[in-house]
Amino acid sequence: METYALELIRNGKRIDGRELTQFRDIEIKEGIIENAEGSAYVRMGNTQVIAGIKMGVGTPFPDTPNEGILSVNAEFTPLASPDFESGPPGENAIELARVVDRGIRESKSIEMEKLVIAPGEKVLSVFIDIYIIDNQGNLLDAAALAALSALLNTRIPKLDAEGKIIRGEHEGKLPVVHKPITVSVCKVGDKLFLDPAKEEETILDAKLSIAVMEDEKICAMQKQGSEGIEFDVLEKMVDLAMKKSMELRKLVK
């Protein structure tokens, strides 16, 4: 199966008949978890990811006394793939969470200064938990999309007089002002393609994941894969990600 996928890509074709730069069908469902402050389900082809957002009250970091806290975690649940094992997150789960984190953090997507209750003492924290339900390729793009979609429907929990969260009651929405979109550009030989299916992931030389803003600025990048990328190809990859990000952004409300 893998060599077949490789053979096809070399000829500019895909295992599922797509164009090289075509994504699989994407479905986004928002607010699917009633108990979460925000949530989204993303299906990208047969890849399924859920992002759930819980908010809490915490102490700000000493170097950012006037900002709320953002934390991103990813669980590669054993139900999603025979390759995922239970236990603490492995390096792939940690990398994915950290790359999603950087896209959101660096884009200043959430107005963190609006999450302060008492400067230097008490702030709201935003926990994004990414749950992989079915791994059929391109987890990162699906996870970033799920995280952003979930943030966009996140409600801020109500606090009581002592500053404790009243679960189930909300006041207002989380201030999300930017929509960074992550597009991973894959490379096999001289061919570039997007949204790798699982079989295609095993044969790619390298991958460059790029988080793009509304105004086409770039806020995060991460190179993956075990081969290098020719210096002169980088610009093409950036261009491709920019173009595709506009298309994907339309799917996010």
């Binding site: 990398e95 953090r105 660096e106 086409e216 770039i218 990048m221 991460q222 190179k223 210096f231």
Partner: protein, 240 residues
């Protein structure tokens, strides 16, 4: 990454440590400094110092980790508790887990392990003093350590950081610049092949700025590569 502050990092075109925008800090390289290892190196960029050693090729256990067709490279990046202002609690954390992975991927394209089925080459990077750009310093050191361990390599891997501070595009960010940068980018290359093996970026850049930074990184990696060659030649020239 880090927090944008109003810190003045560039005054009159000069950086806080008296450098020009495209100037690296003083770079020191030494190879073969750890006798117990098959290969080793120490690389400093200003006050950032990385030690690297390579053990192997050696038998890989447990057996199920073995690859029948090729040897594998494993990498551990770690920061010493005393390497930073506030003591870092020892042991792996999420950051070091990610960095260990990307450092491994930065070096993998340069090593030939096909002749070593079922074995592992273990690379260890210890940051003993941190003042920004630790991952790239670690890559430079580990690349040298692999070479001195006699691991077959296509070429050396050279790495540097570039970024944007106070609106200016710069090379080799120190800790304070890193903490207050508008963007920072880590790049590793096999310079003679124009191959980029590590690329991580965060912050905010236009495409033009990014392309300019990548060019700066390419030039800087070439210089670092020459220094790595020198360091290796220096070690072996008296041994004939």
């Amino acid at each position: 990454m880090g927090k944008k502050s109003d810190t003045e990092l560039i005054i009159g075109g000069i950086r806080i440590d008296k450098r020009l925008p495209d100037q690296t800090r003083e770079i020191k390289m030494k190879v073969g400094n750890i006798l117990s290892a098959n290969g080793s190196a120490e690389v400093s960029f200003g006050n950032t110092t990385a030690l690297a050693s390579v053990h192997g090729p050696r038998q890989l256990f447990p057996r199920h980790l073995q690859e029948s067709q090729t040897g594998i490279l494993r990498v551990r990046y770690n920061m010493a508790p005393f390497s930073v202002d506030e003591r870092k609690s020892p042991g792996p954390d999420r950051r070091s887990t990610e960095l260990s992975k990307v450092i491994r991927l930065a070096l993998e394209p340069a090593v030939f392990l096909d002749d070593y089925p079922k074995v592992t080459v273990d690379g260890f990077v210890e940051i003993i003093q941190a003042d920004g750009s630790t991952r790239v310093t670690g890559i430079n050191a580990l690349s040298l350590a692999l070479a001195t361990a006699g691991i077959p390599m296509k070429d050396l891997v050279a790495a540097c950081s570039v970024g944007k501070i106070n609106g200016t595009l710069v090379v080799d960010l120190n800790g304070e610049e890193d903490n207050n940068s508008e963007s920072d980018v880590a790049v590793a290359m096999i310079p003679n092949r124009n191959l980029v093996t590590l690329l991580q970026m965060d912050g905010m850049l236009t495409k033009e700025e990014l392309m300019h930074l990548l060019d700066l990184a390419k030039k800087t990696c070439k210089k670092i590569y020459e220094m790595q060659r020198e360091a290796l030649l220096e070690k072996y020239k008296g041994e004939e």
